[in-house]
């Protein structure tokens, strides 16, 4: 049997795009099966990319040659760097995109990609090889069979999707689009256990019906910074967003009709995300809070649609209109399309591995919402990891697993493998124990050299990162030498109140280096975090040392003097494979781990 494709990607959302383009960049014959080619890269919810921690993910995808950052730079209508008042490790880029433009540019990009073929159709069945251990390909609804060495599932909310608003519900993956129902059955037949998640989206408002007059305007950054490390300069005319708030009247309407929400009526069984609660959830659960903020975000440059961020709801359509009109600026608002909740299947993630390979079938990979996550950025990140590893699988190469100290990609995949997400998984900086090392501005320094070795990144981009590294090192060396009032500039910058902007004003040589904003952030991070970065690096090294230390199967804990009795009993019982695993066993203390370390090294 000869395969039609090396890698076949099912789905063309944010995960599907990165998976297919990554495999294609690696030179694999890649196919992408989508229900509708015009929907590739479509944004189901908010037309925004990035945000806290998510911005880091997009930068990591970009550092590995991915598409999301470039498309955002090309179609953005407002760019903001978030958390600028906080440290460089927790700053993240966010951009508001033109929804139609983003979709259009992504479709063009994917259709024009070398090695990548788009197939319109619905995948209805996975084809296991005789014997059932590996995958052979997929069958489409029209009976056509596509054979592939590796298959990546990126079905998003379409997997067994069902839409809800008030008493209304119907099968669907997105408003007006049908779901992928058959694949769920196929996955179950292969023995994969599925869970059910829920997410929601707010109604869309007609721009002309909103009175922006009294609302607080939120402009983009004066010096907008690009998402992609490959975008040299961002030239964009930015549009503002507006802030308004819910009122007592809003809450009264919602409370009065809360029982009509399918969430409260018990008709939705899926678990929704707490970080993206529906407005009825916020009002009911936090009854003491008098008001909630609402961001009015334009959906595009020429679009008449406005996205009211913070008003996700599945209340009946008439109730949606009723509560909307109690909000300042929305007194005469018209609704273009109601909000709704969507419930969908996902694979319980103890069945996937660190390379996003599923346990059910060799060669079957999964990425995005199908793995219990939420968000375009989380989906894109997994898409890249799955596409990379599917390509490597197809070629008989070893998998690439990112670790928690190198990338948010590693944190995310490792988290997923460890526990089934009880709610749709979203990235937070607090999930990363090595947060200070994982900055949005150093994603390229962390990952592009690896991307070049793997073949994901073109040599020009890799050379640019080497150049950037060189400039940062040069600047850091200069700050060590240059003095002001008897102190080195490094010592000055270490003070909490001093920023690189001060140094630029004080020192002509430093200003003359014309570092980019991202490079300046990196200089600041390296100086301000110096001691902590060393500490985290040591901790990383310690962890890696522990994870790498294999405990012999026949290790005799009894004969090891100095171990506490409870540690000894628990170690005997659990028989951990590595010291890292041993260190996570309750009752085993640092002192015990140290003893073991010595004993094993002996």
């Amino acid at each position: 049997m000869t395969a039609d494709f090396d890698v076949l990607v099912i789905g063309g959302g944010h995960a599907g795009v990165e998976a297919a383009t990554a495999a294609a960049r690696l030179g694999c014959r890649t196919g992408m099966v989508v229900l509708d080619p015009a929907a590739i890269g479509r944004m189901s919810c908010n037309p925004a990319i990035g945000g806290l921690a998510k911005g880091q993910l997009v930068r990591e995808v970009d550092a590995l040659g991915g598409e999301m950052g470039l498309c955002t730079d090309n179609t953005g209508i407002q760019f903001r760097m978030l958390n600028t008042s906080k440290g460089p490790a927790v700053r993240s880029p966010r951009a508001q995109c033109d929804r139609r433009d983003y979709n259009r540019v992504m479709v063009q990009r994917v259709l024009g990609y070398a090695n990548l073929q788009v197939i319109a159709g619905e995948a209805v069945r996975l084809l296991p090889r005789a014997g059932g251990e590996a995958i052979d390909g997929v069958e489409l609804a029209d009976g056509q069979r596509l054979l592939a060495k590796a298959v990546v599932l990126t079905t998003g909310t379409f997997l067994g999707g069902r839409l809800f608003a008030g008493a209304w519900d119907e099968p669907g993956g997105r408003y007006g689009e049908r779901p992928a129902a058959a694949i769920s059955t196929s996955l179950r037949e292969l023995g994969l256990r599925l869970g059910r998640h829920k997410t929601g989206t707010p109604p869309r408002l007609r721009r002309d019906s909103i009175d922006f007059g009294g609302l607080e305007e939120q402009p983009g950054d004066a010096a907008p910074q690009p998402f992609s490390f490959r975008t040299a300069r961002l030239q964009v005319e930015q549009l503002p967003c507006w802030l308004t708030r819910t009122t007592a009247a809003t809450h009264a309407v919602i409370r009065e009709h809360a029982h009509l929400s399918p969430m409260f009526a018990g008709r939705i069984v899926g678990v929704g995300p707490r970080y993206c609660p529906s407005v009825e959830d916020k009002v009911v659960r936090f009854a003491e809070q008098p008001s909630h903020v609402v961001f009015l975000e334009p959906e595009g440059r020429d679009s008449d649609e406005v996205y009211p961020n913070g008003l996700s709801t599945s209340l009946p359509e008439d109730v949606q209109l009723q509560f909307l009109r109690t909000i300042p600026g929305l007194e005469r608002v018209e609704v273009l399309r109601p909000g709704y909740a969507v419930e969908y299947d996902y694979i319980l993630t103890d069945q996937i591995r660190g390379d996003l390979h599923t346990a059910a079938l060799r060669g079957l990979f999964a990425a995005g919402q199908i793995n219990g996550t939420s968000g375009y950025e989380e989906a894109a990140g997994q898409g890249l990891v799955a596409g990379l590893n599917a390509a490597r699988f197809a070629r008989g190469q070893e998998p690439v697993v990112f670790d928690r100290a190198t990338a948010y990609l590693g944190v995310m995949v490792d988290d997923l493998c460890r526990v089934n997400p009880s709610e749709p998984y979203r990235m937070f900086t607090s999930r990363a124990e090595f947060r200070l090392l994982l900055r949005s501005d150093n994603a390229d320094r962390r990952l592009t050299p690896l991307g070049e070795r793997l073949g994901l990144v073109d040599p020009a981009a890799a050379a640019a990162v080497r150049d950037k590294e060189h400039r940062i090192r040069g600047a850091l060396r200069w700050l060590e030498q240059a003095r002001r009032q008897g102190r080195t500039l490094t010592e000055w910058l270490r003070r909490p109140e001093v920023t690189t902007a001060d140094l630029l004003a004080w020192d002509e040589t430093f200003a003359g280096m014309t570092l980019s904003s991202a490079e300046l952030n990196e200089v600041e991070a390296e100086v301000k975090y110096a001691g902590y970065i060393d500490r985290q690096a040591m901790e990383v090294e310690r962890l890696q040392r522990l994870e790498g230390k294999r405990i012999p199967d026949a290790f005799d804990y009894v004969a090891l003097p100095g171990l506490s009795n409870e540690a000894r009993a628990r170690l005997q019982q659990r028989r951990p494979l590595t010291l890292g695993e041993a260190s996570r066993i309750a009752g085993v203390r640092q002192a015990d781990v140290q003893l073991l370390l010595v004993a094993i090294s002996r």
């Binding site: 806290l52 440290g87 707490r274 009795n565």
Partner: protein, 444 residues
């Protein structure tokens, strides 16, 4: 070599005070506890928590008794437990116990080792680590204040204190992390003063906790273990050159742990290992077992004139450093002490000392050796003290950083929490995000 095959066995011991009383209790624990009880008790016991009246068979006679059935994991040891409550009388209890042990061999029933019920409770997570730590502290307590603190902590107070600290730190951390992971529009940043106000009392609590921990012992600790009447107390007294321990030729004279200092090392004289422990001894034996775990260095004492095999724990689970033969003056002149039957292979390779408390033979060598190995041992209390001190340092650094970035403060608080987890011997149960969502209405 694995000497302790504990979890598979079913064990039995008298758990009431020995001697004549109104009634006596035989406690069985392990997977076959009900089957074993059925060997002497009728009717058949149910597999649910119950009190069953019936009778027990003693040498062909049936006597009224009752049985308490406590299925695991909700029992003291976490295993299936059956208690047989019998009419009192040492001889009667002994007879029933003998009958049980004789008939129960095929069920894997054996006599419980001293402290073994406690050990199983630990292993199965039924007994709090820090509570046990409190018991140890009681032994070390130097003043009335420390005694009071220790007594309180025995009841789980120490773990409560650590839990309270962790809880407080988690709250502070949750507020900081929420400020980092959500924008100012979603959650206005908390001022530095508020953070200080939250963290200061936690730092104070931590200081107080450390003040109440007894200072670590100067040297390491060595525990003398061995069969009852092996001559441990005589040996101690001879080493110290004074009558510190009450010595008697009757077995089981030493009912408490006695602490002596020998040339920088701390020597504990522990109760003997032979008899089914009575309730009065159980506490001392439980303490001894804790100490054996903490002190980590055990010296096995054997009566040279009546060598017996070591208990499985002394041979295996405990870290035996050496073997001391006592009463060598009673051996026929010139004859080496006979090797104890069944001496575990590992023990034969350890340093051996042949001593006599009466003639002073071998004491000089033993004393020098004890001082040397004692100083190399880990002091008890250190496992708790070190992580608590590290937590204290991390909290102090966090307070110093109050005006710097929240991401740096968070790093120190995470470090402090890891130290407290280490001190408590377990990891925090509640994920940070749960705490954040429990407190703030967040998200768009």
């Amino acid at each position: 070599m694995r000497a302790d095959t504990m979890p598979a066995d079913t064990i039995v011991a008298e758990s009431s005070a020995p001697g004549a009383g109104e009634r006596a209790v035989l406690r069985l624990s392990g997977p076959r506890a009900r089957d074993a009880a059925a060997l002497v008790f009728a009717p058949v016991l149910p597999d649910r928590r119950a009190q069953i009246d019936g009778d027990v068979e003693v040498r062909g006679h049936r006597l009224p008794a009752f049985a308490l059935v406590m299925p695991g994991p909700r029992s003291f040891t976490g295993e299936d437990v059956v208690e047989l409550h019998l009419p009192g009388g040492a001889l009667l209890v002994r007879c029933v116990l003998d009958a049980l042990l004789a008939r129960g061999e095929r069920l894997g029933l054996r006599a419980a080792l001293a402290g073994e019920f406690t050990a199983r409770a630990f292993t199965n997570g039924r007994l709090d680590l820090a509570a046990a730590e409190g018991i140890l502290m009681l032994l070390h307590a130097q003043g009335a204040q420390q005694v009071a603190a220790a007594v309180q902590w025995v009841g789980g107070g120490l773990s409560n204190a650590i839990d309270a600290l962790r809880d407080g730190l988690h709250d502070v951390l949750a507020a900081l992390e929420a400020g980092l992971d959500f924008t100012d529009e979603e959650l206005p940043a908390a001022p530095a003063a508020q953070f200080r106000a939250q963290l200061d009392p936690i730092a104070a609590q931590l200081d107080e906790l450390l003040q109440h921990l007894p200072a670590a012992a100067p040297g390491g600790e060595l525990l003398l273990v061995g069969r009852s009447n092996a001559g441990k107390s005589s040996l101690c007294n001879a080493l110290l050159g004074r009558e510190a321990s009450l010595v008697d030729c009757a077995p089981g004279t030493t009912r408490d742990l006695l602490r002596h200092e020998v040339g920088g090392a701390v020597l504990w004289d522990a109760p003997g290992d032979l008899d089914a422990p009575g309730a009065a001894d159980a506490a001392a034996l439980a303490l001894r077992d804790r100490l054996a775990g903490r002190a980590a260095a055990v010296v096995w004492v054997v009566d040279a004139t009546a060598p017996v095999p070591p208990s499985p724990r002394a041979a295996g689970e405990w870290s035996c450093l050496g073997v001391v033969f006592t009463k060598v003056d009673l051996l026929p002149a010139g004859s080496p002490p006979p090797a104890p039957p069944g001496l575990a292979q590992r023990l034969t390779t350890l340093p051996q000392f042949f001593t006599s408390a009466r003639t002073g033979a071998g004491l000089v060598e033993l004393r020098a050796w004890l001082a040397r190995v004692g100083s190399a041992q880990v002091a008890p209390g250190a496992p708790l003290r070190e992580p608590l001190l590290a937590a204290q340092r991390a909290v102090a650094r966090a307070l110093d950083l109050a005006d710097a970035g929240a991401e740096l403060i968070a790093l120190e608080l995470q470090a402090a929490l890891r130290c407290l987890d280490d001190a408590a011997g377990r990891h925090s149960a509640e994920p940070l995000l749960d705490r954040i969502y429990g407190r703030f209405c967040l998200g768009k």
